[in-house]
């Protein structure tokens, strides 16, 4: 079962990373605010894949622990944690040489939701296999 969950996590991570990269490009085009010192292609890809792999591990543990309602519990947990993580880009202090730090939440807050959105997007591809 974990093999399926692993691929679910990996695919979610790659999809989330892709969404982050595309959104970063659009945001830069719109605002010309450069946050490449704290967010770049490598860091966005890394964060997205790591978050989804950790989510996959937690999913595996929860489904193993609460067999019937594990998926519901995990979905709630992932959504709540994603929402709570909004506070991170809002409260973080950037290096002082970065201009327009007030534009950073506009970039990073939506990105916080990309892993959970990607997870739910690809879930139908794996849900039957996991249920088995």
């Amino acid at each position: 079962m974990y093999k399926r969950i692993f691929f679910h996590s990996l695919l979610s991570g790659i999809l989330a990373a892709l969404a982050c990269i595309i959104y970063y490009r659009i945001y830069f085009f719109a605002t010309e605010a450069d946050f490449s010192k704290v967010l770049n292609t490598f860091s966005m890809t890394g964060y997205s894949i790591i978050i989804c792999l950790i989510a996959g591990f937690i999913y595996w543990a929860i489904v193993k622990w609460i067999k019937r309602r594990g998926e519901i519990v995990f979905n709630f947990l992932f959504s709540i944690l994603s929402f709570a993580a909004v506070i991170i880009p809002i409260s973080v202090s950037l290096p002082l040489d970065i201009q327009f730090p007030e534009l950073f939440p506009g970039l990073a807050v939506p990105m916080v939701f990309f892993p959970v959105i990607a997870w739910y997007t690809v879930q139908p591809l794996f849900i039957r296999a996991t249920a088995k």
Partner: protein
């Protein structure tokens, strides 16, 4: 010979008096200056430093600093904190748009120099002394300032830091 004494004396006096009106060296503030403040949380920096810097180590009496900083340029690295810092609760950048320092006297110390002057911040003027060095055309100084002395959010003395260390590094060009 006697008839030359008075004209010669006059020439010497005129020549000597020329040195009394020599101004201290005027310096132009270079772009890569930094005005940083550190209160733990928050910490940050100001940009928008401008003014006249006239300094000659050999003519401290004729030296003069008259500089100001645009309060709206405060940067703590966090947009939310920047907005708060500029609000009426803190610096009130709309009502007090600049922080101004005007020197009154300079003294030579063992490690460098000291400048006394008036710091005008948030509508309050206070006499302060800033120790500084001047090496390789860079003014560097550090001093402490209490926001409560300047009535900056004095209603909440324990909200964040009350005393800040200010570090200045101001390269200048001729």
């Amino acid at each position: 010979m006697k008839k030359f004494i008075f004209p010669l004396t006059a020439i010497i006096i005129i020549a000597a008096s020329a040195f009394t009106v020599i101004k201290s060296q005027d310096w132009k503030i270079a772009d890569n200056y930094s005005v940083k403040f550190d209160g733990g949380d928050p910490s940050g920096q100001f940009s928008g430093l401008k003014g006249t810097v006239s300094f000659d180590p050999n003519d401290l009496a004729g030296s003069k600093f008259d500089v100001s900083i645009d309060v709206a340029t405060i940067n703590t690295g966090n947009g939310m904190k920047n907005t708060h810092a500029k609000s009426a609760m803190w610096f009130d950048a709309e009502k007090y748009p600049t922080i101004h320092f005007a020197s009154s006297s300079f003294t030579k110390t063992a490690s460098g120099y000291e400048v006394k002057g008036t710091l005008d911040m948030h509508g309050v003027q206070k006499e302060i002394t800033i120790p500084f060095t001047f090496n390789n055309n860079v003014f560097a100084g550090s001093f402490q300032v209490s926001r409560l002395d300047y009535n900056i959010n004095s209603a909440e003395p324990n909200h964040g830091a009350s005393t800040f260390k200010v570090d200045l590094s101001v390269p200048v060009t001729k």
